[in-house]
């Protein structure tokens, strides 16, 4: 469903992701764990392009949603001016392409053939990010409910504005979801009147109101008081049991163990180890993972 291809992300001089590849299959629940600063949130935010990757590509259901990364496509590198110069100097064209991709030596100006090749590729495979985001719900650490809108408006704003539903349909669906989490009586309250746990549950159903194919969770319980963590995790477990595809950045190891099909351990911008929760938690191979688990378990 989501494929992340050789993503790097730099913030100025700071490199947060150093070439990450990962695939999220439909129906899969993937937990991303790791020490703070390891790039796990950035990876998640790159999946729906809230952060623009410095290089690499993000695909959703066979549609390219990020920019084209020329180094991932031999046929694009092959028409670049740098490649043409190497070939002219007597290098075999395949070798020239390999060398450019290895050294990442494309310049700013690579000729119109190269420019057109990128444009054509984007036109053929690309999808508008706003369309892609409708299918990818996101839940934030700090909830980010719209402060100037009531609960029901938070749930219906996007479906109505994007003309996915009529006002009546959107409100009916919102009430159905509110009933499900037992907050139907809060429909006309502003978010400031809700507790942290209530806010986060409303934020989750706000994402659900778009009928997404996948939900991305960015440390959904980190900003909650301990006694409110349970209600949020319970709702997430319910969704997992219903077969929702989920990618969850979390510090809740117990939850990752119970719910995830696969766990990714990130450190220093790499995925250092991945596997089923049993293998990863019981038989960690990576040294950093062992150290990390000894601290958090």
């Amino acid at each position: 469903m989501i494929s992340v291809k050789n993503i790097t992300k730099k913030f100025g001089d700071l490199t947060v992701l150093r070439g990450v590849d990962c695939e999220i299959a439909s129906g899969e629940k993937v937990a991303i764990i790791g020490p703070s600063g390891s790039g796990k949130s950035t990876l998640l935010r790159c999946m729906n392009l809230l952060e623009t990757p410095t290089s690499g590509e993000v695909w959703l259901d066979d549609k390219l949603i990020s920019d084209v990364d020329p180094y991932l496509h031999e046929e694009i590198v092959a028409v670049s001016a740098t490649c043409a110069r190497s070939v002219q100097a007597g290098v075999a064209s395949e070798q020239a392409v390999d060398e450019i991709r290895k050294k990442r030596s494309l310049g700013k100006w690579e000729g119109s053939a190269y420019k057109n090749a990128i444009k054509e590729y984007a036109a053929e495979h690309g999808q508008n990010i706003n369309l892609a985001r409708r299918k990818m719900g996101m839940v934030f650490q700090h909830f980010n409910l719209f402060n100037n809108k009531t609960v029901i408006e938070n749930l219906t704003l996007a479906p109505i504005d994007l003309k996915l539903k009529t006002k009546e349909e959107a409100e009916a669906r919102a009430m159905e979801l509110l009933n499900r989490i037992g907050l139907a009586d809060k429909r006309d309250e502003y978010p400031s009147k809700l507790s942290g746990g209530q806010k986060q549950r409303v934020a989750i159903i706000r994402a659900l109101a778009m009928d997404p194919d996948v939900l991305l969770f960015d440390e959904p319980t980190s900003a909650l008081d301990p006694e409110m963590v349970g209600e949020v995790l319970d709702l997430m477990k319910e969704l997992a049991n219903e077969g929702m595809t989920m990618v969850i950045v979390t510090h809740e190891m117990g939850f990752a163990r119970e719910v995830a099909d696969r766990v990714l351990f990130m450190d220093e911008g790499h995925i250092k180890e991945e596997g089923s929760p049993e293998e990863l938690f019981k038989n960690p191979k990576d040294e950093r993972l062992k150290e990390f688990l000894s601290k958090v378990l």
Binding site: F146, K149, L162
Partner: protein, 230 residues
Amino acid sequence: MDFFKNIGILLTNSKYMGMLLEGLGKTLLISVFAALLGLLLGTLVAIVAIAKDSKAMKLPKWICKIYVTIIRGTPMALQLFIMAYAIFAIRGFPQEITAIIAFGINSGAYVSESIRAGILSVDIGQTEAGRALGLTNKTTMMKIVIPQAIKNVIPAIGNELIALIKETSIVSMIGMYDLTQAAKVIGAGNNMASYIVPMSVAACFYLAIVYLLTFGIKKLEARLRAGDKR
């Protein structure tokens, strides 16, 4: 107590009151239209200033920066003189329009900074949540960020409007007949021959306008803050 007797004379004399009200009308006319122009200009400049850096925005951003720098860095009276005696030095050109443009342009520079700060004060998470739902940048701005920003900038904009109303009194320097000028004329030797009385009455007029404005702003703010806990 001559002072109170004279105030009584002024308030009951239809000639003097007519002069004051005429001046008051002009002050209000200039203030209202200059404020509208200032808000419009200020919002535009603020939106340009917070737009993402790109090639197309380079020149507009640069123009806005120069505009704010020059207007905030030079005296209002000088700006008014330049408008009246250089740019619009056309015989028969209505002075009211000159004044409205001069004050509107001046006010816009201050308002733009307030609005820019207001938009930046809205948590980035609000924008991210909107964009993550698939809303466009424009929709997120119009429906989520700007309504919250407005709430934050109202006190600053209110301050600016109050300053603007009082600052219009310098139009008398280009010979316009506003509230201040009316008080001056009434106080001159061929009329009441006492400045303190008409000046005090004019001061009360200004005070009343500013008080009403403050009251309105408070009410508006309270209504917009309905969703807040504070």
